[in-house]
Symmetry: C2
Subunit: 337 residues, 2 copies
């Protein structure tokens, strides 16, 4: 398919759409459900548990970047949204909105990344749709991925469950994804080890829930960064969150890039970072479980949930003063994920 590009006719729903799907996605997502070529996938859900259901659109620019691509973050993003509810992610469905002129080889690379990410996260892509828009009415490809997971009986993770006294844990250093995209877009290639942290968090979350079954709430710190994610949790549960600035791990190269560009790493997007709000009696076990997983080697306790400052996130700075962290206002950089 070298040099071939997507045309509007690839979006007709007819013969050429079938050709595109076969050429680009054909062998990558083979599974008995997808192969039936029906209007919807029919799935036999086994065992007990509630369903978790989510959707996430991805418009990241550029499509490929150090550490990943739009394909990887599209799969991992939905896997992680499901994992944040304590669900075991199982099935994905993907909608591609493709700009006329996209190289088929680029679309293929993206599909390969999605297939690899799906294998890594142990999820199946069971349904999909492709549309094509005219040149100049898109930007390569936008991908929305929906996912279904099963929340095992007994697991009850919900933003609203956060309680004063809960310990705030984080799995990994912040700011790598956002600063990777930002330095790439600004043409600053100075940090050789700066790459996106995109990763599926379902496995580390499963380990965490095994060790600490009463985790109250979790959230991944994507668009808007750690500060915005915690602000949402504080608002939803009507609690305060007190963070220790000294304790928050920041990716070293990302910190340097933030300083250069005058940005606060607390507001920079991540694709493999999450926070867990854990009752104090399970905090040690939770931290140990996170550290035992490759995606949690640098896990830390970064703060506590408080009765005071309800609905707010407070940062206790290195100098000992308190600073309110509002949610992100305006936008650091569009098209980060």
């Amino acid at each position: 398919m070298s040099g071939q590009r997507v045309t509007l006719a690839h979006g007709s729903g007819g013969r050429l759409t079938q050709t595109l799907i076969r050429q680009v996605f054909g062998d990558l997502f083979q599974n008995p459900i997808l192969e039936r070529m029906n209007d919807a996938a029919v799935i036999q859900a086994e065992g007990e548990g509630r369903l978790a259901f989510s959707i996430d659109g991805h418009v990241v620019n550029p499509l490929f970047f150090p550490g990943g691509s739009i394909g990887e973050i599209a799969v991992n993003g939905t896997v992680n949204d499901l994992a944040m509810m304590g669900a075991r992610p199982l099935w994905l469905a993907a909608s591609f909105i493709i700009e006329e002129g996209l190289l088929l080889s680029d679309l293929r690379r993206i599909a390969e990344d999605m297939a690899r990410a799906a294998r890594r996260a142990h999820v199946l892509l069971v349904a999909g749709d492709t549309k094509v828009v005219e040149r100049g009415k898109g930007d390569g490809v936008y991908i929305s991925v929906a996912g279904i997971g099963i929340v095992p009986p007994g697991v009850n993770v919900d933003a609203a469950n956060a309680r004063p006294g809960d310990v705030v844990l984080i799995n990994a250093p912040i700011a790598a994804h956002g600063m990777t995209i930002m330095t790439l877009r600004e043409g600053l290639h100075f940090e050789s080890d700066l790459k996106s942290d995109t990763a599926p968090l379902n496995e580390i979350v499963a380990d965490l829930l095994d060790a600490a079954p009463h985790v109250h709430a979790m959230r991944d710190a994507t668009r808007g960064g750690l500060a915005t994610a915690l602000h949402e949790l504080a608002q939803t549960a009507h609690v305060g969150i007190l963070l220790e600035e000294n304790a928050i791990p920041v990716h070293e190269a990302a910190r340097a890039a933030c300083e250069l560009l005058g940005l606060d790493p607390l507001y920079v997007a991540n694709e493999g970072v999450f926070v867990a709000l854990v009752p104090p009696e399970e905090a040690e076990a939770a931290l140990a479980a996170m550290r035992a997983h490759p995606l949690g080697r640098h896990a830390r306790r970064i703060g506590t949930v408080t009765q005071e400052h309800r609905g707010r996130v407070i940062l206790r700075t290195a100098l000992g003063s308190n600073r309110i962290l509002p949610p992100l206002s305006g936008d650091l950089l569009p098209r980060i994920c």
Copy 2:
């Protein structure tokens, strides 16, 4: 919100994203699941049955047209994909990719159409996501909607189940949606009663399955029209399909528009038309059930499934000759749905 437009900052994931969601979607989709503001919706599925799961992207241009809008077809499209598997559609999740500069009032109108369509189809929107792309990198808004339905025990509708001898039934005249969009885009406003047929098919399908529980296969005739939908069924089930040209109902104004533009109505997109392949012993009951529903008043028997011509659709013309109907090749008109 009169005159206000979507800005890139509305896509930040921070405060302005929350404001946009409240302003535009706030009161329209109230339900206890969505209100929890979690990363994924958690649903208690009740009763038995397999899950049906589908996704469909919508890029129709223009956003508003006689008979509907992108909002209505985005909801109905996914409802119908689920219904085609015999599923009872229950929950939807929507991903919005919005172009900077879209009027908030237009987005609001679209959201209102989605809410109305969801109420009509008795489905709940339980999760969503919004992204914003720069002016010129989109076209107003693209909407991908994923859906989950439950396939009741005993229902086994599948493209692969079509059998020689099955009767092919259709619920409504074809070509209205595609010709509505096409005449609008061509600036031909001559047909005053030409409007999109967008409609939720889940209720008529439920009535059909009550009356004829052994329906083998169904498909809605969207992109690529009736000919392409039947071709897909013929290919998947390795059967032939013989259509009687005289029997196929064509929307009258759409037929006139097709003649003017030199198009074949068999390849024009529909948004409220489906075919059912029914064993002959249940065909009469099936047809009666379809005709008893407002969306099936003009239901007809249009053909039969054959052992000959496997993988092909054959049209017996009004003149008595046979013509092969291949799937749509090329594209009549991009951005039809």
